[in-house]
Amino acid sequence: MSNELYPQSVLLVEDLSLRLGGYTLFEDISFVVDQGEIAIIIGPNGAGKTMLMRTILDLIPAHAGRVTIFGRDHHSLGDTSRRIGYMPQRLDFDRTFPITVYEVMLLRLRKSGFWLHRSRMRDRVREALARVHAERLIDRAIGRLSGGEFQRVLLAYALLDNPELLLLDEPAAGVDITGEDTFYELIHNLKHEENLTVIMVSHDLDVVFKYADQVLCLNRRLLCKGAPHAVLRPEILEQTYGALASSYHHHHEH
């Protein structure tokens, strides 16, 4: 595989493997994500979804394989990193960290001068929050946000700098069902308005059928890739999740 064969590709993953402490987290993962696609990585707990995301972003060194983002090797992204928005899992944040939403957003807007607050910056932060319908949260401490509100703020943060590729790690985890739906709706709309490419990790098959252009079933290995209705056969889900999941799938075929 090479990038010339996939001129539309935003992300190219080739034979990627990760081993930590003699233990294989995933191996031989290859897939392509084209511009404007929503690709959703599914799999049970411990399947390596978050680790795959982190390896793609070069946060953990891969054992083998190659990752190309916007035609550049992920080890030497340089300025290309500005074209990427990343949203880590909400649970990776210490919510007692005394910082307001405005201050969090400033961290991405300014390289230095955190202490010089200008009204221009405030306007930019307010605009960014408005994209996710969260402008009223601007002065709230992050510890006082609900799960859904915090996810919105993280999404707004990822969207600062107008990225072309968004990587979202379980963006709606811990959000209540109604909130979850609006959250994915929001990502879906943003994708259309801004022609974003989105790669996200999710647990939820409903979400996959509703929004994914491509689904990637991960359980140490890549067990399927393609359009959800074409590839999510009961036997694949069984391999991915174990026996329980196939009954879940029937429910979606109506």
């Binding site: 946060l59 992204l77 990427i84 880590p88 405005y102 201050e103 230095s112 202490w115 401490a141």
Partner: protein, 290 residues
């Protein structure tokens, strides 16, 4: 007969004036001037860096560096170097060693810190044993001694405070980002490991210049407690930083003055002052929650 009015304490204006003139009169002593200038500098410095130490849960690390200073001081005395300068060098070396092993090996950071902590303590005690006679001067480093602050100590404290605080304020965005979420910082191109090294060095410098006044045993308390107290009160990061700095300064000044009048070691007096503020802030936080 009605109940008698509750007893009240009245501070007369004469007493107040007496207290104020006392407070100013201690400034006539050159050693007290030196102690206060150095104390203000390190109170501020420890509190500012302490904000990041507490956010990154690194209090064990700062304690280990402080105990490593004992070996540095002892070696300094043995080699005829200025003990504080020797402590600066030794602490920086230990800080870099801990960071290197934590980053490069699969050893957990508390294991690495524990080994360095006990190793440098043991080395320090052995080296002290080599010197002849009773080492009163070395003992003053354990708990701090305002009488021992030299002109060089004041210059070092001011210079390092300017350097460390300047760097922290200039690069707050990066330091906060790495503390808040390391992955996020790295995705944006921040070299988090390089910042780890730099931060450890800054912390080692902070610890070693604070030794004269606070002492080895309690220096990490002066780093942790003001930031912890501020965290009970602050809603945002600016408030956190401002309050921590204010608490550090107040503890240093009040502690030093109290230490002068009560003839107690300066370290414990300053730290107890900070602890009083911490307890008050914690009670304040509980009350706000109810």
């Amino acid at each position: 007969m009605g109940p008698s009015p509750p007893p009240t304490t009245i501070i007369t204006s004469t007493e107040m004036a007496g207290f104020l003139s006392d407070a100013f009169s201690i400034l006539q002593y050159p050693f007290m001037q030196r102690a206060l200038v150095a104390g203000l500098a390190i109170g501020f410095l420890c509190a500012v860096i302490g904000v990041f130490v507490t956010l990154r849960s690194m209090s064990f690390f700062s304690d280990a560096i402080a105990h490593a200073a004992l070996a540095g001081i002892a070696l300094g005395v043995l080699l005829g170097m200025d003990p504080v300068l020797a402590a600066v060098i030794f602490c920086v070396v230990v800080a870099l060693g801990i960071t290197y092993l934590t980053v490069r090996t699969e050893l957990t950071s508390d294991t690495v810190i524990g080994v360095f902590f006990s190793g440098s303590m043991a080395l320090g005690v052995l080296v002290i044993g080599f010197q002849k006679g009773y080492q009163t001067d070395l003992l003053s480093y354990l708990f701090g001694d305002i009488l021992s602050v030299s002109d060089l100590d004041v210059v070092l404290a001011l210079a390092l405070t300017t350097l460390v605080v300047g760097l922290i304020f200039w690069r707050s965005t990066l330091l906060i980002k790495v503390a808040l979420n390391r992955d996020l910082a790295q995705v944006e191109g921040v070299n988090a490991v390089a910042w780890d090294y730099l931060f450890m060095v800054l912390l080692a410098l902070t610890v070693s210049v604070s030794l004269r006044i606070v002492g080895i045993v309690l220096v990490s308390a002066l780093i942790i407690v003001p930031a912890a107290a501020a965290r009970n009160l602050a809603r945002d990061f600016r408030g956190l930083m401002g309050m921590a700095a204010a608490i550090g300064l107040v503890s240093a000044v009040v502690g030093l003055v109290a230490s002068f009048y009560t003839d107690t070691p300066s370290g414990p007096t300053i730290v107890l002052m900070a602890i009083v503020i911490f307890v008050a802030s914690f009670l304040g936080r509980l009350r706000r929650r109810m």
